[in-house]
């Protein structure tokens, strides 16, 4: 079955995701009486796979990393008490837990996931956009990247402190178990350091992927966390799905703008 026009959905996919205008032109030109629709689809799917092979490989590796990382709890937390507490939680906690690859409920080393970085990137990109709109001034990419990283570490530290304080104050754990074995700064300082380092580690991976590969590191790390987190959920409600989709949309906009600045900052 042949026609003069290539299949529109395949063409749209190619234009949107192949990132290679010359390839799209070649396939459109070559598609004629002697090429079938099936040929065009085959060319499209393999081209997309070839273009995003590195991203798919990286995503697989990141999913494995989250799957392992979520099982490594920070020091000083009673695992049995934590499991009992997590089982009784619901609502927004579940959503944040899903977004952190299921690491929040287990207070794992990756509990904060990449969120401090996405939060910082969103804030800095939004602020620079407002600055450009109000004063017509463009902020240097190096400054944006440096500012985002510093803010991300600060946000990670604050979130880690908040989490440790939250854990210490939990008095409603079923069975009367104590969540933190030795509350106080001897628990908080190492816990904050471990949690912040977990996020910094993910930030380094994200930046490396963005700079060297054809993938958006920030988006990939976020997506990998969400995939692992979703598999840890007992059920997926409409509310959770909607909030996840909204978060993904915000992160994808931020990640695109931030990647541009990240790549420009090393030129």
């Amino acid at each position: 079955m042949t026609s003069n026009r290539p299949p529109s959905i395949a063409l749209w996919l190619l234009e949107r995701f192949s990132g290679n205008d010359a390839l799209v032109g070649d396939l459109v030109e070559a598609f004629g009486p002697r090429r079938s629709t099936l040929w065009f689809w085959k060319q499209t799917l393999v081209a997309l796979l070839a273009a995003h092979a590195n991203a798919l490989l990286a995503l697989t590796g990141l999913i494995a990393l989250f799957a392992i990382g979520r099982r490594v709890a920070i020091p000083g937390v009673n695992a049995d008490a934590l499991a009992a507490l997590a089982a009784g939680t619901a609502g927004s906690f579940r959503i944040y837990d899903a977004l952190s690859g299921g690491g929040l409920a287990r207070v794992s080393v990756l509990a904060l996931a990449i969120h401090p970085y996405t939060t910082a990137a969103t804030a800095v990109e939004f602020a620079t956009w407002l600055r450009r709109l109000a004063f017509g001034r463009i902020t240097a990419s190096k400054l944006i990247v440096r500012g985002t990283r510093m803010l991300a570490v600060l946000v990670a530290g604050i979130q880690a402190l908040g989490l440790t304080l939250f854990l210490e104050r939990q008095s409603q754990v079923p069975g009367g178990l104590s969540l933190v074995e030795h509350p106080g700064w001897t628990f908080r300082i190492p816990a904050i350091l471990v949690l912040t380092c977990g996020t910094v580690f993910l930030m380094a991976i994200s930046d490396r992927l963005s700079r060297t590969g054809s993938a958006n590191g920030l988006l990939l790390v976020f997506a990998a966390g969400a995939v692992v987190g979703l598999t840890a959920l007992p059920t997926l409600s409409l509310g959770v799905a909607l909030q996840l989709a909204m978060n993904l949309a915000i992160v994808s906009i931020t990640a695109r703008a931030y990647r541009r600045d990240l790549c420009a900052s090393v030129r």
Binding site: A22, G25, V28, V46
Partner: protein, 110 residues
């Protein structure tokens, strides 16, 4: 694989670029390989190989003017470089030298 080496498919692509001369672009290269190997060639794989060859300095690329039959998209032409040509010749020399020993090997098998 080190920077100076290339895969079998990259060698096919590079040889097709040499054969086509000024007419070497994605679909043409795929057609050339298809005609001589008798197997289906994916244009996306040809571009992936060309990207790697360009990174290694074996080919260069140049965009032509956009044309209506391509939906207003430019054609990307590829040319082999001096280093690329040397590598093709070297591959030919090695394969030819190796091939000389094959009949004896075949006799041993039959």
């Amino acid at each position: 694989m080190s920077r100076g080496e290339f895969s079998h498919f990259e060698l096919l692509v590079l040889t097709a670029v040499v054969r086509l001369g000024d007419r070497a672009y994605g679909v043409n290269i795929a057609d050339e390989i298809e005609a001589h190997s008798g197997r289906d060639v994916i244009v996306g794989s040809v571009y992936a190989a060309l990207d790697r060859l360009e990174d290694k300095g074996f080919v260069t690329s140049k965009l032509a003017d956009p044309t209506p039959e391509r939906g207003g998209r430019a054609k990307k032409y590829f040319r082999v470089t001096g280093a690329g040509l040397r590598h093709v010749r070297e591959a030919q020399r090695v394969l030819t030298a190796l091939w000389r020993g094959v009949p004896k090997f075949k006799e041993g098998l039959t």
